[in-house]
């Protein structure tokens, strides 16, 4: 397997995109985008930008775009299990107030 050598141009473009997205996310944080008590719109914006940046790093800097299916599966598994951990934990935390019961959140 000869390694795929990524051109300098692509690396520079990715760098530029990452810097631009950083500027964007900082700028967005100065505006209240709404979304209730937890400011969901702000959170969603910031996390979307973060996911985009991470994806760029994984695909280009870490060469996953040019790697075998197996690497894709490994990366996908890591992300999936992280989401399981966060998601199922939140399934408890976010629904705890639905029934009136004494808990640390309701005090």
């Amino acid at each position: 397997m000869t390694p795929h050598i990524v051109s300098t141009k692509i690396y520079v473009l990715v760098l530029a995109a990452l810097l631009a997205l950083t500027a964007l996310t900082v700028a967005a944080s100065f505006y209240d985008l709404g979304g209730g008590r937890l400011h969901y719109a702000n959170a969603v914006t910031a996390l979307t930008i973060a996911v985009s940046k991470a994806t760029l790093v994984v695909l280009y800097f870490m060469h996953v775009r040019y790697s075998s299916h197996l690497t894709w599966v490994f990366v996908g598994a890591g992300v999936f299990w992280l989401l399981v951990l966060i998601g199922l934990t939140l399934s408890d935390v976010l629904t705890r107030g639905w029934l009136p019961s004494p808990g640390p959140w309701s005090s």
Binding site: L70, A77, G78, W81, V84, L85, L88, T89, S91, D92, V93, T95, R96, W98, L99, S101, G103, P104, W105
Partner: protein, 538 residues
């Protein structure tokens, strides 16, 4: 042994027998032996503490231990058995020894990491033992906060550090196996030809890699909170102890599958060999290992039904828990179907394997009671739970370990053990186990709570039965230790394939030479080609 060993062709035991060469070995077989010795120490610690617990429960007011002493004893039992015996048992001993042999490789992918994992294990084990001997720990193996992080006056930090360290040995083992299975298979050994033992270890490795880091970071936080009082899990400071339980069980529920999946792999090999048949529904047995590993991560909340977790999350976790029963059922049915019309031979490994099927089935079915939200409210923290998980962990995992040890002992050492004694021991273990733990189902159902050193007098008869069973169980473990050690000196030479089994490990000499194979084998047929083997022999 050394005098006899020299008479045999050079093998991994006889080449370079010095102590230093063992301590610096990168040979997966020797590392397996190192693990076998070290986990035996922890099995002894766990078994002795279990014996003390059972003796103490002989009388309703506690015959030996009271209060904190009792708490420390069951904590020691749980921690040494789970983290230092069951989790490394089959993977680190039999897996290390057999995986490369089974896939036709000279070693695991990262031999140095493999040795490192053993040293990490020893370091973690030493910390835990030091913690146990310098005051002990009374939190149980679950380390629930805020008791563990704030109120307990015992050696929680050092014990947690020990478990934290040992976690990395488990991670390294899993990482090594995963890469080894992906990248080191002999030519022709496609995924559909892999022995089911290898499939089971693949699934186990996934859990080790994905789950262990979470318990590691969780224990780190408990340690931080104990040291600095920052309130991560302390309700008085706004922390939520239930979140600890989430992170803890995210690992510790799948950890049960780290214990049971490798046993299932052993059982698949043994059942196929002693029925002289291909495993019925090979693809489904292989796939069910992966399914158990994956679904096993979705069910952890069933440990927390009465913890204060939201009822809605409880409903979801209850439903998801039932899903694990499907792949487990697939395995049991397929093993049974393999026996059908097979020419079954009742050697010791087979007795253990059959025992496994029965005990695991009972353990699994009672698990369904506990996965049911409503029933669990009644049964939580009773001996019903204790009986259930001992049917899985002892009846399942340890029986599988014993079966595997007996099946591959001739390969590992090159010597045969006495047939009669081994069968008797397997039967004794089965009887002793059931006598110990079946009464605990009834005790628990009638309301006897776990982790208490006293109980109402009306429970005494069943408790005495349980203690009596434990003594039979102890004999059942002691006899194999004696005759296996005996075989090292007086056993007959085993030859490469004493059971007439398929599988690449049986094509290598017993014990195998340092590089396993003279020439890397080429695989041309499926894993359990017993029918073609019989034809060839005829």
């Amino acid at each position: 042994m050394s005098t006899l060993a020299t008479a045999r062709p050079a093998n991994y035991l006889s080449v370079d027998p010095g102590v230093m060469s063992w301590l610096l070995t990168k040979d997966h077989k020797r590392i397996g032996i190192l693990y076998l010795v070290s986990i035996s120490v922890f099995f002894l610690v766990g078994a002795v503490s279990a014996a003390v617990i059972r003796l103490s429960l002989f009388t309703p007011e506690g015959a030996l231990l009271h209060g904190q002493a009792y708490n420390k004893m069951f904590s020691l039992h749980g921690i040494s058995m789970i983290f230092f015996f069951l989790i490394p048992s089959i993977p680190a001993v039999l897996g290390n020894f057999l995986l490369p042999l089974m896939i036709g490789a000279r070693d695991v992918a990262f031999p140095r990491l493999n040795l490192l994992s053993w040293y990490i294990f020893v370091l973690g084990g030493a910390s835990t033992l030091i913690a146990a001997t310098t005051g002990g720990v009374d939190t149980g193996w679950t380390f629930y906060t805020p008791f563990s992080s704030i109120y307990s006056n015992t050696n929680v930090t050092l014990t947690a550090v020990g478990v934290f360290i040992t976690g990395f040995s488990s991670i390294l083992t899993g990482l090594n196996f995963l890469v080894t299975i992906h990248k080191m298979r002999a030519p022709g050994l496609s995924w559909s030809r892999l022995p089911l033992f290898v499939w089971a270890h693949y699934a186990t490795s996934l859990i080790m890699i994905l789950g262990t880091p979470v318990v590691a970071i969780t224990l780190l936080m408990v340690g931080l909170e104990r040291g600095l009082g920052i309130g991560l899990f302390d309700p008085a400071l706004g922390g939520d102890p239930i979140l600890f339980q989430h992170l803890f069980w995210f690992y510790s529920h799948p950890a049960v599958y780290i214990m049971i999946l490798p046993s299932m792999g052993v059982v698949s090999e043994v059942i196929a060999c002693f029925s002289r048949k291909r495993i019925f529904g090979y693809e489904f047995v292989a796939g069910s290992s992966l399914a158990i590993a994956v679904i096993g991560f979705f069910v952890w909340g069933h440990h927390m039904f009465v913890s204060g977790q939201s009822v809605y999350a409880g409903l979801v976790f209850s439903l998801l828990s039932f899903l694990v029963a499907i792949p487990s059922g697939v395995k049991v049915f397929n093993w049974t179907a393999t026996l059908y019309k097979g020419s079954v031979a009742y050697h010791a490994p087979m007795l253990y394997a059959l025992g496994f099927i029965g005990l695991f089935t009972i353990g699994g079915l009672t698990g369904l009671f506990l996965a049911t939200l409503g029933t669990d409210v009644h049964l939580t923290d009773t001996y019903f739970v204790v009986a259930h998980f001992h049917y899985i962990m002892v009846g399942g995992a340890i029986t599988g370990f014993m079966g595997g040890l007996h099946f591959w002992w001739p390969k590992i050492t090159g010597w045969l053990y006495p047939e009669g004694w081994s069968r008797a021991a397997a039967l004794l273990l089965f009887v002793g186990f059931n006598l110990t733990f079946f009464p605990q189902f009834i005790l628990g159902y009638n309301g006897m709570l776990r982790r208490t050193y006293t109980y109402p007098p009306e429970f005494q008869v069943l408790n005495v039965m349980s203690t009596a069973g434990a003594s039979i169980l102890a004999v059942g473990y002691l006899i194999p230790v004696i005759y296996l050690l005996w075989s090292l000196r007086y056993g007959q030479a085993a030859g490469p394939n004493p059971w007439g089994a398929t599988g690449l490990e049986w094509t290598a000499p017993s014990p195998p030479p340092p590089g396993n194979f003279e020439k890397i084998p080429v695989v041309t047929e499926e894993a359990y080609a017993y029918s073609t083997m019989e034809t060839r022999r005829a």
